[in-house]
């Protein structure tokens, strides 16, 4: 069978838990061979989506395919070809880490012993420890070693590095790059934007059970804004009213504002009219993009109050301290 173009597709995926709608018509498409970032605030429905894709939940409506198959009806067949790392790895307390790795590998359909040994070495895991003695990070390593030691076509990783230290994060990233180099597909749910930027070809952002943005990082950058800081000879007026201008703050001859990239030209043309003394522009950051979608304001209307900007500032500060 020829490889499908898409390793994962979901169309209008809906899941109700009682009255609560966890997924509300979510769309997702992951191309074969790509690393796809899956982003969204807590409670947006990322894990529910993954559980539906794994056939652990039956969607209320909508359709999903995994490797060309229905994940609910053909769960066992599909699972032969994929490896899954849950967000909260829970292991059997009285099994050793090595036993758990072998168990998952074998239940999946086989494990490469030398690859396992190499990964244990790289992740610096002690496989003889009982699982109850492992920290969160070490439990994640158990699941990661088991997943990377498999030759699965598809890896589904749900926030796999939230407990890892920066050294191990680097090991993780090189593992994902190797997997990608082998032409395998990765769906990576993550909150660590540096990780997403380093690894992902395309990303999907979900919010309240829907996909609000999907595309390559390049494409998404176009949707964001540039921050301008301008000093003019005369006080610049009338800029705040222009379309695509947000958060304009004027102090005498000094003006700070955010501009939608699509509206940069008319705004700059108008600024030039006041006699520019100096001009600084900050490139659009991913953080800013995510904050716009993560924040409380509905993403559709494009309006962005102080809360959104403040969020972006916080994100920058966070990125700086990381």
């Amino acid at each position: 069978m020829a490889p499908d173009e898409y390793a994962i597709t979901a169309e209008g995926l809906t899941k109700d838990f009682g009255k609560f709608r966890a997924l509300d018509g979510l769309d997702l498409s992951v191309r074969t061979g790509e690393v796809h970032g899956f982003l969204g605030p807590n409670g947006a429905g990322k894990s529910t989506t993954i559980r539906a894709l794994l056939g652990l939940l039956k969607p209320t409506a909508g359709k999903a395919t995994l490797l060309g198959k229905d994940p609910w009806a053909d769960a066992v067949e599909v699972h032969h070809k994929l490896a899954y790392v849950p967000g909260d790895v829970s292991l059997w307390r009285n099994l050793s880490g090595g036993e758990a790795i072998d168990l998952f590998g074998t239940l999946r359909g086989g494990i490469d012993k030398s690859r396992k040994a190499e990964l244990i070495e790289r992740f610096q895991l002690d496989p003889t420890k009982k699982c109850r003695a492992y920290s969160k990070g070490n439990r994640q390593k158990v699941a990661l070693v088991s997943a990377f030691a498999s030759d699965s076509e598809l890896l589904i990783l749900d926030e796999p590095t939230s407990g890892l230290d920066p050294l191990m994060e680097a090991v993780f990233q090189s593992c994902v790059k190797e997997v990608k180099a082998q032409g395998r597909t990765v769906l990576l749910s993550s909150h660590i934007l540096a990780e997403v930027e380093a690894l992902c070809d395309r990303v999907s952002i979900v919010r309240r059970g829907r996909t609000v943005e999907s595309g390559s990082l390049q494409e998404l950058r176009h949707l964001t804004r540039t921050s301008l800081s301008v000093e003019t000879q005369r006080p610049a007026t009338g800029l705040a009213e222009l379309p695509g201008v947000h958060n304009a703050v004027a102090e005498g001859n000094h003006l700070k504002l955010d501009v939608d990239n699509a509206q940069l030209e008319p705004v700059l043309a108008k600024v030039l009219g006041f006699g520019v003394v100096s001009l600084n522009s900050a490139p659009p950051t991913l953080e800013e993009l995510f904050m716009r979608h993560y924040g409380d304001a509905p993403a559709e209307d494009g309006a962005d109050g102080d809360g959104g900007k403040g969020g972006a500032d916080r994100a920058k500060a966070e990125a700086a301290t990381r």
């Binding site: 894990s47 559980r51 794994l54 056939g55 652990l56 939940l57 039956k58 769960a75 066992v76 067949e77 699972h79 032969h80 994929l82 899954y84 849950p86 909260d88 790895v89 829970s90 292991l91 059997w92 307390r93 009285n94 099994l95 050793s96 090595g98 036993e99 758990a100 790795i101 072998d102 168990l103 998952f104 074998t106 239940l107 999946r108 359909g109 496989p127 003889t128 420890k129 009982k130 109850r132 003695a133 699941a143 589904i156």
Partner: protein
Amino acid sequence: MSEKSPYTGTQALLKLATRRDRIQLAVWMYGTAALAYSAANSVKSTYENEKARVDAVQLLSDNPALLLTRGAPVGSSQGAVSMVQVFSYLCVLAALMSTMAVVRHTRQNEETGRAELIGAQPVGRQAGLMAALLLALQANIGLFIFLGIVLPLAGLPIGGSLAAAAAVASVGLAFAGVAAVTAQLAGTARGANSLAGAVIGAAFLIRGVGDALGDVTENGTVVHSAWPSWLSPIGWGTLVHPFGDERWWVLALPLAFALLTMGLALRLSAGRDLGAGLLADRPGPAEAPRALLSPLGLAWRLQRGALLGWLVGIAVLGATIGAIGKSAADALKDNADLTDTLGKIGGGGTDDPAGVFFASMMVMVGAVAAGFTVQALLRLRAEETSGRLEAVLATSVSRGRWVAGHVLVAVLGVVALLLVSGLAAGLTYGAATSDVGQALGDLTGAALAQAPAALVLAGFVVVVFGAVPGLTSGAAWGGLALCLVVGQLGGLLKLPQAVRDLSPFTHLPALPAAEAEALPFIVLLAVAVVLAAAGAALFRRRDLAP
């Protein structure tokens, strides 16, 4: 608060624990009080006068089997007769309530990481344990009040009622102390509960042996327990003699025991790290043995430790039953009335006294085996709620295959338990009658005959797990309790036949007394298979719990 006491924050934690348990503990108290009330009430309606009660007590005193499972009578009043029927069970319920509550708020908190969150607050390191102990104290005081109210309502004298209520509550406290210690020893809540459960079982059995070996006096209406009863916390409760000579001073024994064990637990807890058990961890293998690498292998690995504990327990029970079999049979030989009564308990009377005795005992063995299946199959739900199942089902293991692994372990476990109990009983009984071959054959067969009923209960648990997973634990223990109440106390409580028929154990022929018939076994096994298959099918169709 600048105070540096290790008990800082106990009050806040106690409030939290009280709030978390407000329904659970109330159910325990209501249930225990309801059992006491209905027993006292039915004694009143069953026996019209003193003469009828004297006959009943004499019947009981003559029979070590009944003394073992019920207790030693202290007279023939309504209260005394009620207590001999249910007092030991009230003590077991108080003990279970207390041990499970203490473990829930100590070791289970540590296991789930809740204790870590609490430990980071300005809370003393002993506050958690102290709050759990105070919670158990509250619960047992509550139980004392409940029993102190319902027993007089059933027409019993106040003094005896209070003595009985205080004895039950003191036994509960003694076991709260036991659980406080086991929670320090074991590294898991399961382990701590199992250890405490084993101590309760041993206490019940030791008291039973003491009562069975007791001296019958006062024309058969009073039995003075032998020395083993003095070694058991449940025995201390019965030795208070509520509605008899009411020896209040005996209460000092369980209360002192409670203080000692609680003090020991606090000492142990002061010297260990959060989350660590005193029974240390050994490193495991870096590679899994082949036997582990399948759903069945995993299920076996998860269950084998618990099964071993159950096997030891049921072997002791079987050996005890076998050992007292001969003297029980001798007592029955001289008493046609008693044989008749026991025959009814076992499910069918014959002329063979030993057979009648063992048939009534095998009901108890079957209940223990059913207890194992319930515990084993609750693993299904525990695996699901812990999130471990998610990772397993994300591999190419089908849901059916996973359920089948656990069910198979439960089935094999039941067979192994019954086989071991039958063999143990056969050996000790055979040693007494000098015919080991015959005894082994009879009693092993009689024990194994309990399996189909235990398996019906197993099937029921699987169905609940498949259909309404949230209720699995409650329905499973409730189902077991129903079987126990119907089996052990159904006659006493005069339950209608339709209710008794709900228990699969009711439908078993009373081996070895009665003739073995194939039909009930076939029907019960078929019911068990249908239930398990339906449960697995329902599970395949539902969402996995997050």
